[in-house]
């Protein structure tokens, strides 16, 4: 070694491995407008598809006349259900075990439903032609309220299911009922609650909203009739699943289908499912022999492809006089819309909603979820959360606040005395989960200290006094949340999608000169996989992250995986990546031993090299080993340096966090100002702090939107009232609050690198924090609960109903 030899610290820094705030490599192209999204794909002879959609929420389709549309020059085809029926593609299976119309088959069940698919030589002609398709409808009674949908006299929505008493998830008790899903102990819970000193009850509604990714859904399908290969480019969060489903539906052998997810402009759950547009584009390409593009516009995205939430959660929570929680009971009426197209692991029709005991040691609990059909768009996807976890977190964090009111207790203290203690992990929850690790008290105390909780409460008390004395018209709300997420689906023994186990994968190839390419079964939609997965490999193999290319989304090249959603990429594919890197390193150790003429066991790993124990001057760097792997005959070893790993996680991971929002509320106008937002996340081992911070900012902004105004609203006859960005709240830089981020680090004991996943925590945690701040501002005036979104008029209504307008 000499002066030119980099120090160990320099070598570590050079890797930009785990823990480094490495800049996102993707942003070079994204910030220059050089991304390659589905709509950027242009193939020779490409045709364009556009939908005729239903203006009605419930109607019989009496006839469809396509003559005038077909007569328009440039129109190649107009597909209807009648055209798809011979192929048995007029309906398609959903991820939730239901089936969904691809094109209206006799009736329509929601406004915006796909009725006919026009294919033309350009998208302007296609749009013109949709207006020329003459559809005769007979309006039917509309049901948009899930409670009314279950009344005996409610109209039958799904005539295709009439008389079928058994659904995909057990018995159906009504013609608009989908399933009843239960967890926990019903009787024991009811007994515990009835015997308790204090009981709080509340109906907590998590309204219907929408992931609204900046890029809408779309596809380009290209059937090559000469070689029989179908290529499908699309906005797919799970490209491999799409390939398998496409093969099963079409009968085309899986090796003849290539699915490619190019750059994706945000997904947030909206791009997990399979949509009629994909099926129609594929069929149209098979029929015409030409590539067919279909791109949704914003109104179609908001009104037809998957929404999120719409959960009516009736809760009962009980406690001792001192505030020890004794039981939790929850019944959910879940509005799934016209088809059950939730994107959950198949055995979990209510997702992981039964994480709803949250961060608390609750001895007994019960959850029952009734899925219901209504005349609204299908969906119910996990909008930047693990499956139904934001619903669960919102529910428990509201119930805690309501219980605090019932007890006359400070809500921070009530949380503290009920937290699962550090020494209780791994913790078995009353609803059947095994929490892997946590240290809630430490996080909570750190958060309260950071925001100056005591001082805030004193300020609030003064404010209330000032308000009552007429010195101010603004109230101060302190919104508390401690959430526990469940992510990383999941163990194949109980997690699958349509029978496909939810493992994930990574394949690493080291090139002779010491750079590498890695491919994964996941697909980034903005999460920064090309940045962070390279960091895991850098730490595991000792090759600099800057020398590692990450590739995802092409099913012809990437190993099979279940995709990216539910914060599963790091817990599952990240684990596969680490283990794959370790396989590489194991072989590298054998090569190094041969080169250094020592036994394998005489070597130790040091950042980027194997060093002979006790002889630090004798080493081989990974770069040298890579070259030797390809160019030197090593007895007993195959040439090359590559590996593939498939990882089936033993358990989920349980990230958690403490979020606090401080808001000023104008009682007269219903306006608000977020004065402070503090987010402490514990996502286990932190791979890239800067990427984590970015994820927290993005997720908290979505949470802010959801809590304070974002909704998909329908009128009583099923018209979408919020189908454009004028009415659907998507915050700009102007509305977006300032965030303070913080962390504790409690590694997952079962994950190879201890990482838990973070992308969705900020959405899960921020919604109750914002909502609780609004509620807290009015607590002193008697408010218990008021439904989101807390837009101006709804906050104004709270104040009016409490008599605060004089």
């Amino acid at each position: 070694m000499n002066d030119m030899t980099p120090s160990r610290e320099q070598r570590i820094a050079n890797l930009k491995g785990m823990g480094a705030s490495r800049k996102r490599v993707e942003d070079v192209r994204f910030t220059q407008g050089k991304g390659n999204y589905v709509d950027d794909i242009k193939l020779p002879g490409m045709l364009f598809g556009d939908f005729v959609r239903s203006p009605y929420a419930h109607a019989r389709v009496k006839s469809i006349n396509t003559e005038a549309a077909m007569a328009l020059p440039g129109v190649i085809a107009v597909l209807t259900a009648a055209d798809l029926a011979p192929l048995n593609l007029h309906w398609m299976p959903t991820l939730a075990g239901d089936k969904q119309m691809v094109l209206a088959d006799g009736k329509v069940l929601f406004q915006g439903q796909e009725v006919a698919f026009v294919v033309a030589t350009d998208r302007y002609i296609a749009a013109d032609a949709t207006e020329l398709v003459d559809v005769e409808y007979e309006e039917l009674p509309v049901v948009v309220d899930p409670f009314k949908a279950l009344e005996p006299e409610a109209p039958v929505l799904r005539e295709d299911l009439e008389g079928s008493a058994e659904g995909a998830h057990g018995p159906r008790r009504h013609h608009n009922h989908i399933f009843l899903w239960e967890a926990g102990e019903k009787e024991a819970t009811e007994q515990a609650i009835d015997a308790s000193e204090v009981v709080a009850e509340e109906m907590v509604y998590y309204h219907r909203t929408h992931p609204c990714p900046l890029e809408t859904c779309g596809t380009v399908a290209s059937m090559d009739k000469v070689n029989g290969k179908l290529t499908v480019y699309g906005t797919f969060q799970a490209p491999h699943v799409v390939r398998t489903v496409a093969s099963l539906l079409s009968g085309i052998e899986e090796h003849n289908i290539r699915v490619v997810s190019p750059d994706i402009g945000g997904g947030f759950g909206n791009k997990v499912g399979v949509y009629p547009g994909y099926v129609c584009a594929i069929v149209a390409s098979i029929v015409t022999g030409k590539p067919v593009k279909w791109i949704e516009d914003r109104m179609e995205n908001l009104s037809a492809t998957a929404f999120a939430r719409d959960y009516w959660m009736k809760g009962r929570i009980s406690a001792t006089k001192e505030g020890r929680i004794t039981g939790l009971h929850c019944h959910v009426t879940a509005d799934h819309g016209a088809f059950d197209a939730c994107a959950d692991p198949t055995k979990f029709p209510a997702g992981f909603f039964h994480i709803c005991t949250g961060s608390y040691d609750i001895p007994v609990a019960y959850v029952g979820v009734d899925g219901v059909y209504t005349n609204k768009a299908p969906g119910g996807v996990a909008y930047r959360c693990s499956f139904r976890v934001t619903e669960a977190a919102y529910f428990i964090e509201r119930m805690i606040e309501v219980l605090a009111i019932e007890l006359g207790m400070d809500a921070a203290e009530l949380r503290r005395i009920n937290f699962i203690c550090k020494d209780q992990f791994p913790y078995q929850s009353a609803l059947g989960w095994e929490y892997d690790s946590g240290d809630y008290h430490t996080a909570w105390d750190k958060a309260l200290e950071a925001v100056g909780y005591k001082e805030l409460r004193a300020e609030q008390a003064q404010r209330i006094e000032d308000f009552k004395a007429g010195r101010t018209r603004k109230l101060l709300g302190i919104g508390l949340t401690h959430f526990t997420e469940i992510v990383g689906a999941g163990p194949v023994k109980n997690c699958d999608i349509l029978g496909m186990g939810m493992f994930d994968s990574c394949e690493i190839r080291i090139h002779p000169t010491g750079s590498a390419i890695a491919r994964l079964g996941t697909i980034s939609q903005g999460q920064g996989h090309a940045t962070t997965f390279a960091q895991i490999i850098a730490s595991e193999t000792g090759l600099p992250a800057d020398s590692i290319t990450i590739e995802e989304g092409d099913t012809d090249t990437a190993p099979y995986g279940l995709g990216t959603y539910g914060s599963r990429s790091t817990p599952v594919a990240g684990a596969a990546t680490a283990l794959c890197g370790r396989k590489i390193r194991a072989k590298a150790q054998m090569i190094a031993a041969y080169l250094l003429e020592v036994h394998d066991g005489d070597l130790e790993w040091d950042v980027d090299r194997f060093v002979v124990k006790g002889a630090p001057e004798r080493f081989k760097t990974m770069k040298e080993i890579a070259y030797a792997a390809y160019n030197q005959a090593i007895p007993g070893l195959e040439p090359g340096l590559e590996a593939v790993s498939y990882y089936d996680p033993p358990n989920m991971t349980y990230p958690f966090g403490a979020y606090i929002a401080v808001m000023e509320i104008d009682v007269d106008t219903g306006e608000h100002e977020v004065r402070q937002f503090y987010a402490l996340d514990d996502c286990g081992t932190r791979i890239n702090p800067m990427v984590i911070e970015g994820q927290v900012h993005g997720g908290a902004t979505e949470g802010y939107a959801i809590a304070m105004g974002q909704e998909i609203a329908y009128d009583e006859i099923g018209n979408v009232k919020t189908g454009t960005l004028m009415d659907f709240f998507l915050p700009t830089a102007w509305e977006t609050p300032h965030y303070t981020t913080d962390h504790t680090e409690t590694p997952s004991p079962h994950h190879p690198i201890g990482a838990k996943g973070v992308g969705e925590s900020p959405n899960v945690g921020s919604v109750p924090a914002f909502s609780n701040a609004v509620h807290d501002a009015f607590r002193a005036f008697g408010l218990r609960h008021s439904h989101m979104p807390h837009d101006h008029w709804r906050i104004w209504k709270i104040a009016r109903d409490l008599g605060l307008h004089g």
């Binding site: 007269d668 219903g670 609203a713 919020t722 837009d791 101006h792 008029w793 104004w796 209504k797």
Partner: protein, 284 residues
């Protein structure tokens, strides 16, 4: 979100533009910044087979400020209006209000003329122009005529402008006294839930004159003469403000929409007006 096909015209002088409107009748639409018309065309809620773009009419991009009066060409963008120092000095109300319209990208294209001529009750400029007592100049095949802003609006998207006329200029006398524009909106880019424009002059401790106009609280902008009269001669105290609000509430007719129910809008209208009066008085 794809419009049906249309012919695009870009005349280089006013006579040619008016000629095109005459030639194509109700199949033609004038386009200025396009921020109202183009979304409607994309949603196929407005059909126009001939678009007559006024970007080529340089005369309509002028702002003149003098002691006798102010003239703003119809093609002046909101951004140009905001940037004009002479105008800001003479009519600070306009800059204060224009900064509350949409976002910088929209303001870079959206024009004052388009904003007042379209007749959209959500637009901010119509109420402001009523508050200022402005006059709109319309040019048509039969020559030029002036219409008072307070007489211009007949209903949502229905104005005194004939199909073959073009609104070319806005003129008004520089206002004296205090001013304020108070607007509540859900987010950047939204129309007002309620907005109030107030101009006040002071004579010692009393209000010498007052002009009050409200935005997006009826199918037309509302210049509330009664509200102004309630303030004139008063000390602008709580009681006077209450009378002005009561008078204004008798003149507006808001409808329920996603911004909220009627009762909420009326309440907010009162709050906006009270705040605008208070701020204008402090500046008078």
């Amino acid at each position: 979100m794809i419009p049906s096909s249309f012919e695009y015209h870009r005349p280089s002088d006013l006579a040619a533009a008016i000629g095109l409107l005459a030639e194509h009748g109700d199949e033609a639409r004038v386009i200025a910044g396009g921020h109202s018309l183009i979304p409607l065309m994309k949603m196929r809620m407005a059909g126009a087979t001939h678009l007559v773009d006024l970007q080529g009419l340089g005369d309509l991009k002028r702002i003149t400020v003098s002691a006798d009066g102010i003239s703003i060409g119809a093609m002046v963008t909101q951004a140009e209006l905001i940037a004009h120092e002479g105008l800001a000095a003479a009519v600070p109300l306009l800059r204060e209000a224009a900064l509350q319209i949409a976002d910088p990208q929209v303001r870079n294209l959206g024009t004052v003329g388009g904003n007042v001529a379209n007749g959209d009750p959500g637009n901010d400029m119509p109420g402001l122009m009523q508050c200022l007592g402005a006059t709109f100049t319309l040019e048509g095949p039969d020559g030029s005529r002036d219409v008072a802003a307070r007489e211009f609006y007949h209903g949502a998207y229905v104005t005194a402008r004939a199909d073959d006329e073009i609104l070319t200029h806005i003129r008004f006398a520089p206002p004296a006294g205090g001013y304020a524009y108070e607007k509540q909106k859900r987010k950047i880019g939204d129309y007002a839930t309620a907005a109030a424009a107030v101009l006040l002059t002071r004579n010692g401790g009393t209000v010498a004159s007052a002009s009050v106009a409200m935005t997006n609280l009826s199918d037309v902008p509302v210049w509330s003469q009664a509200a102004g009269e309630a303030l004139a001669g008063s000390d602008c105290g709580d009681e006077a403000v209450r009378s002005a609000v009561t008078a204004m509430l008798a003149d507006i007719d808001p409808q329920q929409d996603n911004r909220g129910p009627v009762e909420f809008k009326r309440h907010v209208a009162g709050v906006m007006l009270a705040r605008a009066i208070s701020r204008a008085w402090s500046r008078a």
